[in-house]
Amino acid sequence: MAERRYSKTHEWVTVDGKTATVGISDFAQAQLGDVVFLDLPKPGRKVGKGEAFGVIESVKAASDLYSPVNGTVAAVNENLTSHPELVNSDPYGEGWILKVDLAGAVPTDLMDEADYKKAAEAGAH
């Protein structure tokens, strides 16, 4: 599944073999505003779908980050420590947040781009 899928809590995920890459959506970064800090887990930590795995802070707000998949953290994007602004400038590329070794199948209730866009716009008032 190279196609990007989205959770209701605005994380995105792409899957390559048994590895998932997770980040936050363009909509989410725009809502948060300039990101100043991310508190991320260490590799090896187990994450469950819908569970908070970290915190993202902008000047406006601090929000929990939720894992869209089940698995074990394989890597975190170390660049974000010194360059949190990558989440704003390139949320789907250089601004990726986690790589996860998947346990089991990818959840089927994640949204595709079109559905996510609709949901995000409806939720934004």
């Binding site: 809502q31 000047v59 949190p84």
Partner: protein, 431 residues
Amino acid sequence: MRSARIRPTYRVSASPRSCATNEAAAALPGFAGLHPYQDEETVQGALELMYRLERALCAIVGVDRVTLQPAAGAHGEWTALRMIQAYHRSRGDKRSEVLVPDSAHGTNPASAALSGFQVVEVRSGPDGRISLADLESKLSPQVAALMLTNPNTLGLFEREILDVAEMVHATGAMLYYDGANLNAFMGVARPGDMGFDAVHMNLHKTFTTPHGGGGPGAGPVGVKADLIPFLPHPTVEQSDGHYTFDFKRPKSIGRVRSFYGNFGMLVRAYTYILAMGGDGLTQASLDAVLSANYLRKQVEGVLDLPHEGPCMHEFVASAHNLAPQGVKALDVAKGLLERDFYAPTVYFPLVVAEAIMVEPTETESKATLDAFAAALKEIVEQARTDPAALHAEPHSLPVGRLDEVGTARRITAYLTGQSEDPVLRWKRVQK
């Protein structure tokens, strides 16, 4: 009567006259010269004031006892949660979750987390009020309490509060009242009568003691009978006109503040309550609600109002309709500063995009409300015609746009060991 959010910064709270009376009372030598180590016999007047203030607050919010110790609102939240935790534990009940609505003040989840609870969010419905269906799905025997602000942070009264209380109590959980918005119905309705078991109050907002740079806060917590054994000690007791501190409270959660709370604030709040009287407090609430609705009506068609009115003492507008011009809530707030108004709270509550929260309070005249609305209209007009000029404001203040993002990032870099520059330093100034 909170910080006057639509006023220029020089005015923090309440009418100048009530502030002057408050200050005069607090400056009386018998109060101002007290030492906390003085013997009880020599401070009977001070104890009497604490006792009477407690009785007055009990009557205003509809509870059985009040602790005056907490130093501010969040401290009050934490104190109440500790009592609720102690209550459940005394019954052998290890409840681990606290429910908090998504529109809650940020201190609610923080206080719950600090007390060792798991925080579970309850969603708002489309009308901006707590969703009973979502609440139902999150209530369980694990839930120790629901923390609720009423009216909520959108300025909306939680109309189904009696149902909420019944649902919460049916599972054995307690209902906690965040008193930040008490000034919307003080003297009109009582949280205790709505079913709240623990109620915090901000003397530095609702009862006009200075805050926001003016002095320490005071966040008393009132409780119903079930929680009385767990109140912080000492309590003030009275027998035949003689007042004493009671330290012999075996189930007490202990002291939550050195000595007896911010006593000077207690004097000011008691003075305010006596000066206003019951009718005066009711009038203050009614006027606060009237001001907010008057202003809300003027803002219709200028900014988007995502929730249906009428509102209580505050309302939340959204600047999202200015997005096509690249103008955000922050720019509107800066524009208000440029026009001599104290900027309103922006980007809160989080459930409204580009939120602008306006709380005029009861102290503002119609002329001030009209001027504020006119300034908002001018800003929105400018957003359409010349957004670049708006982005450059304010010009007339000592500082313009601060680099909040850059500063936060540099501080983070220092704290995470990636930079040697601490950003903020104390410097001794040679005179």
